[in-house]
Symmetry: C2
Subunit: 235 residues, 2 copies
């Protein structure tokens, strides 16, 4: 694994540098382990724009693969697929890659916004001190209200997340993973959402009898329990 | 196309037998034309259970391929993919097939229910007389209210459909179809929703400036304008 020695992944971290909570970084973490690649995970805070300036933008995940800097979780997954074609496939071909982009968009547009509102104060409480003013200002602008007001309807937002997961419940009646008999990138796109909540919050995204639980548990257990072993707050 | 000569597709039809409005039948219609197969489309009404008894259940689409009867739109697509492997692929491989099942579930669980409410009285008004009592009874049971009350919040339901299409808008910034550079089955799963509304209703699912329009128009134009030429009520 010579190539793996040169991989560095900048990941959003909290005051505790081991709390890696970004859903988008988790998509990439799972993609790396799926490919059998190990990267050095570099803790990064919202305000450390200079550290990732080489990527030409200001958000993580950023992957440094030798001399190449790649930002945006989906573009990183595409990079891994093309740079490491002999490793297990993330997409299963061009049509699967295109489908995964739609599924990623489903997660990002429909599920992340309501869950963000439900766990926003948990995120805020675990941020490094230097990130708090940035986070408060950017999120108050995004939601057009004080940070403390965003989570006022947290129970409703959590109910919305559960409702919008209905496609997964129907699909699980026919197959165990979004990518078929084994997980791949489309699964990780959705699983990142659950790791976000698990790492940073006590909020339980799923009810105790949710048909989605076996899928989530299988992904926590995948690759020798890689995700389950990550430092976390919630259950 | 010897094989095609033996294909018969039972499709939901209105009082006008040329109005074929089921979203699930449209998924199959597009899959057939994608494969370059022509099937005899047999108009079928809700109450004609005996005509499809060979399929072991009571809903269309039902495809008769020689001696084989297949029900359920997704299973029909899988049948076409395996029975006609030399024709253009609907899924692009196993992972694409699995992804398509999730995307189909997204359409069926999140988009079809609110759109059904918005166009329910349009459907009812175009049914064959013998179907009306069945439709009223089954839908009043499903929605737990009189048929005429289901559409009372049609504007809200239409707004919900538009909101839940947000993943497609984000995806279209990066690629023209759910399946990549050309449409395939995952696109048809979603396109069936639009044909449902077009064939049976004047409701305009998309606002005139919606970024989804080029995708919908491209699918109306695909295969020599196959879908655009179908008899319809709406625009």
């Amino acid at each position: 694994m010579t190539a793996a020695a040169s991989l560095r992944l900048f990941e959003l971290a909290g005051a505790d540098p081991d709390l890696r909570f970004s859903p988008h970084c988790w998509k990439v973490r799972m993609a790396l382990v799926h490919k059998g690649l190990s990267a050095e995970g570099v803790p990064w805070r919202f305000t450390e724009k200079a550290a990732i300036a080489v990527s030409g933008q200001g958000l993580v995940p950023v992957l440094l693969d030798g001399e190449t800097a790649v930002s945006d979780s989906f573009r990183i997954a595409e990079h891994l697929e093309s740079a490491y074609p002999d490793r297990p496939s993330l997409f299963g071909g061009e049509m699967g890659r295109a489908n995964a982009r739609f599924i990623n968009a489903y997660v990002d547009t429909l599920l992340i916004p309501p869950l963000a509102r439900a766990i926003l104060m948990d995120i805020y409480g675990r941020l490094a001190p230097q990130d708090r003013a940035y986070f408060r200002e950017s999120r108050e602008k995004r939601f057009s209200m004080p940070l403390e007001a965003v989570g006022a309807d947290a129970a409703d937002r959590l109910a919305e997340v559960r409702r919008l997961l209905q496609p997964l419940r129907l699909m699980l009646k026919s197959q165990p993973f979004l990518c078929g008999s084994a997980p791949a990138y489309a699964d990780y796109c959705l699983f990142g959402l659950f790791m976000w909540a698990r790492v940073v919050s006590d909020v339980e995204v799923l009810a105790p009898d949710d048909a989605i639980l076996p899928w989530r548990e299988a992904l926590l257990d995948a690759f020798g329990g890689y995700a389950r072993q990550a430092p976390h707050t919630g259950g």
